[in-house]
Symmetry: C2
Subunit: 379 residues, 2 copies
């Protein structure tokens, strides 16, 4: 997939925006990406919009708001990978020769939707017995502690790292670092996970302008190559998913590495789906970026910090930057593009050449609804 480039990115500040609409947030992000690409809105030939809870025709509302009319647009949804999938489908449209300049947008106004959206589904047997998202990840954390001889203290280092990174990111929801003590003393959600181990409820928008090789040349922008955009869904094994390893994440990452012609050792920085603190460990290990069972010690040694061997979630991740579902996967690409261009300010990863974005959606325990993406971007 050597023929797709990102030439512009933009996002809103993530956070609680009670006075703004999803349309408004999406428009701000789209216009920021268009401006960053140095193009005019009328040069956009096609668009994709990822979201989960925003109802019908979300992307159409954004296009109307910013005065783009008459082009093809498709709304896409893959649970928490919805934004990442807008990137993937935009890339496919370019590879198909359908468009040269495509807007990939992700948006979510979660604070206005969250109550209703999470009302118990009477058919959801897992939720009825307590297997909510925090419950599932708490079980996975306990299993991980048991299997690998680590504990609550080491796990707390992940929120500390990510909220610390977020404090360096003006677009992040949280702007203050936290200490291990604050993580350990936070309100329990599903033990061992406390409030600071869980990604917050967030509103926001993020956008990227994807182009063909010929358009990248013609438009003369600061192009970053999208070397792979892989998607897998459901399980990849007939066996139940192990609690501490994700075959779906692994299969998706391997597919992305093969497409990009790289190995995990080539990655300069990774944005991964840390919906809970323990999830970051499961994802970096699933992507083979760190050895299985050794991630918490690696974090303790500073390997995943900005300036470490392989910075993970320098943007702050979902824990620090926030998690507006549909916008999350696009915002990962925004961060990576800024890092690869050397425009990440106080959180810049020096010499960054290869960026890796992992996004995961759907039920963690069940077969149904799982979706995973891995994207590789190269300077």
């Amino acid at each position: 997939m050597s023929d797709v480039y990102v030439i512009g990115v933009g996002m809103t500040r993530f956070g609680k925006h009670p006075d703004r609409s999803a349309t408004d947030l999406g428009a701000e992000a789209a216009l920021a990406a268009i401006r960053d690409a140095g193009i005019e809105p009328r040069q956009i030939e096609g668009a994709y919009c990822g979201h989960v809870f925003q109802g019908m025709a979300m992307g159409q509302r954004v296009l109307a708001h910013i005065g783009i009319a008459g082009i093809p647009l498709t709304n896409v949804e893959n649970v928490c990978s919805s934004g990442a999938v807008s990137i993937r489908e935009a890339a496919l449209a370019i590879r198909a020769g359908e468009h040269d300049v495509v807007l990939a947008l992700g948006v979510e106004h979660l604070t206005s939707k969250f109550q209703g959206a999470l009302a118990p589904d009477p058919d959801d047997v897992e939720a009825a017995v307590g297997l909510t998202m925090p419950g599932i990840y708490a079980m996975r954390a306990r299993r991980y502690f048991e299997d690998y001889g680590v504990g609550r203290g080491e796990l707390a280092l992940i929120p500390v790292k990510n909220k610390g990174n977020a404090a360096l990111n003006p677009f992040a929801q949280f702007q203050e670092p936290v200490t291990v003590e604050q993580v350990l003393e936070a309100r329990p959600i599903a033990e061992p996970l406390g409030k600071l181990d869980c990604s917050p409820v967030t509103d926001g928008g993020a956008a990227a302008i994807l182009v063909s090789a010929s358009a990248a040349k013609r438009l003369n922008g600061k192009a970053v190559r999208l070397a792979a955009s892989s998607l897998r869904t459901g399980t990849v094994d007939a066996e139940p998913t192990p609690m501490t390893f994700e075959p779906l994440t692994n299969a998706t990452a391997r597919d992305a590495y093969e497409r990009a012609g790289i190995g995990p050792e080539d990655v300069s920085l990774a944005e991964v789906h840390d919906c809970f603190s323990i999830a970051e460990a499961l994802r970096v290990e699933g992507c083979e970026l760190f050895p299985r069972g050794e991630y918490l010690q690696a974090v303790e040694r500073g390997e995943a910090a900005i300036g470490g061997r392989l910075p993970v979630n320098p943007s702050g991740g979902l824990l620090g930057k926030g998690h507006p579902l549909g916008a999350t996967g696009v915002a990962q690409v925004v961060e990576i593009v800024r890092q690869l261009r050397g425009e990440a300010g106080g959180r810049q990863v020096e010499g960054a050449k290869v960026g890796h974005a992992h996004s995961r959606g759907g039920k963690a325990a069940g077969v149904e609804g799982a979706a995973c993406t891995v994207q590789v971007l190269v300077r």
Copy 2:
């Protein structure tokens, strides 16, 4: 787009299915299409699922139900064009060289969602002043009558034709023909439109198997070529949309004709988005299949009947077959494929060579949310 073929189609009976789930309906349709294509589920390499109101991860639930795991799937939504868009995105994935065999699925369990879904949106100013869908189409009917010197009696011929065709389609919601008198005496909804001028609330699923040219050859199926799959969204003019003509429909159809290398005069049969009786006139005229303002007289002369010059909605259309939003656009392709293969039984259009499917979603009067697709299939 000469390199995409449809080798299998399937659908559930459309109607009210209170005892079945969207997952169940989607699975039935997908398995029927897989069987029709003469392939095994494991040969599916990627999938798209169109729906509007079914919540998160609809397509993933269907794949899990039929035992397909680990492949890429993306859920897509473009209001009433959602199903049609699953066909378009599947075709793009094939043209991009990403997949050779793709499932395009559409599903909706509307009877269980319709009440909540249509609860008034406090931000929807148009609905608040009575510009609901039936209200808008009623105004358009009156304008059409005024502009072209036709009336209620001629308009009634459209439901009569479509429900008559549906009576020949074992998969249609309505199985009984209706008379002009029944249409005129039906309960008024928004005058001049009565109940039989409005598409019903419907549950159902529809699916198609799309393949590359090489896979079509290898799999040796009954391949029908998808010669164009065009999508446009929003308005195409700065001017307000005229009440009796749809620039968006026209632009989309012209794009499709150009891609397919045909003109409207080459079309053997058309499935168009007759969400209301008057809508059929607006769509066939917008697609230049009949001269502007002359469609009702053409229907009166039998030109749009099965056996006429250009049969419109031989399946029964939305008025007769039913309108399960996400499934509707795929079901149009199901009908066309069956017609082009000569497998349409009592409603067969003799010598059908070129089929045309038009789907339209979103607010009819406003700029926001409009989406339109036109697909051309060739034997």
